[in-house]
Each structure stands twice: as C-alpha cells, then as structure tokens.
Subunit: 173 residues, 2 copies
Amino acid sequence: MNLEFDDAVAMLARTPGTLRAWLAGLPDAWLDANEGPETFSARDMMGHLIEGERMDWVPRIRMILDHGESRAFEPFDRFAFRGAIGGRTIESLCEEFEQRRRDNLTWLRRLSLTPEDFARRGRHPAFGAVTLELLSTWTVHDLNHIGQIARVMSKNYSTAVGPWREYLGILSR
Amino acid sequence: MNLEFDDAVAMLARTPGTLRAWLAGLPDAWLDANEGPETFSARDMMGHLIEGERMDWVPRIRMILDHGESRAFEPFDRFAFRGAIGGRTIESLCEEFEQRRRDNLTWLRRLSLTPEDFARRGRHPAFGAVTLELLSTWTVHDLNHIGQIARVMSKNYSTAVGPWREYLGILSR
C-alpha cells in the first residue's frame, strides 16, 4: 500500500492526544519502567518524540525539497533528548509534543506537495537515495513507539500475571 | 513487580480514552487493516475489548470471589464479538467500551478487595488454580491490544517506508 497523504496526516495528528490520554497523570511506576540499562521508558520516549519534531522530520523534508541529493541529512541523535526531559512533568512533555506536532503538520499541509515532490530524492547518510517515503516513516515511527510504550509498561507485570503470561505475547517481545 | 491495585486501576481507566483519541475519526484504511485472514483489525479489537468487559473480567473476578475453586470459569470466546460490531461506527464502539469499563471499575473499587481476597483461588479451565493475578492480566491485556493495534496499522506502510524499514522493528513482528 502506498502512502495516502491525508491518511498519514490523520494518523500523525492523533498521536499527541493519544499519548496524553494514556500517559498524563499515570503513576511513575508506569512512566519510569524500562527494559534495563540503555532502554527507553515511556517518559524517555516522549522526549525522543519531541526531539524528532525539532530535529528530524521537518529538517529532513526541507533538505529533500531544497537540496535534493546534493546534501546528506544530519544524523539524528536518538539520545539527545536526555538532558531536555530531566525534572519535567509528563504533562509538560505531552504539551510540548502536541504543540510541536501541530505546528509541523500546519507547515506540512501548506507545502501542498505535488507528485513531483514525492519523486524527488534526498540523501540519507546510511541508506543513500531516499524520497518522501520519509512521511510514511514518520507515521510508522509514531506507531512503533506507541507499541514500544505498551510493551515496556506491560513488563511491570510480567510475573504478576501468573499463568496467563502464555496468552500475552507482548510479554515475550 | 507485584500488582499495585491503584496503579492497575489508573491504567485500566485510561485505556478507553486512549483508544478514542487514537481511533475515533480515523480513515477506514487504518481501522480495517489486518494482517491476513483470521487476524484482527483495530475495529475488531474494539469489539473484542467490549466483549471482554461483558463476558470475561468481571464474571471471572466474581467466580473467584464467590465460588473459589469449586467452579471453573466459562471459556471466553475470542471471536464472539464478530456479530456485534457489524455496521457500527468506531465512535459507537469507543463509546460502549468507555461506558462498560467505567461501570466495571466502579464495581471493582466498591469490592474493597482485601489481602485475603488476593490470596483466594479460582479455577481456570486450562491453567487450573489461579488468583486475582487476573487483575494484572486485565491490565496487560489492554497493553497487549494497544501494541497489536499499533502493529496491525503500521503494516499498511510496510513497503511505503522504503529503506527505513530496517529501523522500524514493529514492521517485522
């Protein structure tokens, strides 16, 4: 299935509200759970998503449209958010993500992308030539982290579920 | 980690709002995507979650508290919802799930469960003796389906993401 611009934007627009409904006000036992050293908690993932709105998606779309293959994307630092989330409430992180995503989608819609834009190539530092398949990636990246947040939090109760563990595939991933 | 009753209820209470923020108004291309014959779409999972509120969690908690090991749980039919969701909008499904979950959590809180209740045993048709580890299971079951909804929808763009597929673990599960 190809990207449908309006469908992708519909999904991208819902992610902040989904995360707010899920995470705002949740006890820290859920928000700070992780899968071991150097793994992300739900709170970390909010920081990572905000960093993506700032430094990843929009700058790279711009780079494809403005510079084509002549300039490679800046590598995205997946851990750069760590300093920026210290001491902030989950509500503040949800708020910032919501605001940045809204602004970015307003900008994206105003681009009025054409089929020619979708055929244009940029240069990824590892993959080489890429296109605005970046928009599909942005969308799936959201879903990837929603799934990861569910998985990380579920592991709080890996043993508490007793024999039902067998029916709960999320605990084995 | 053991179940903390208030933490579990905080999570259970947020699931309906999370699903509504995510799914209400989404294009059918997302809601009806599945992973092949006999697999669940996001819309199917809403039906399955509603059926769980009706026929699974509360009746089984009651059975443990009222009958102990003397009576086994009724098996839960994971496909029973199919007739009940035909022709209904996603908004109507979100609404019903929200209402039933709210009522069930009100009932659950009013039980004022004691440590003795948590030690009580019931009888699962496949596992044999089980306890109110069922409450942890209810919670993880929600997270399992949130993760599954993310995964099923992400696969719409399995190929549209191009080379980024390599970074998106959700597409390989």
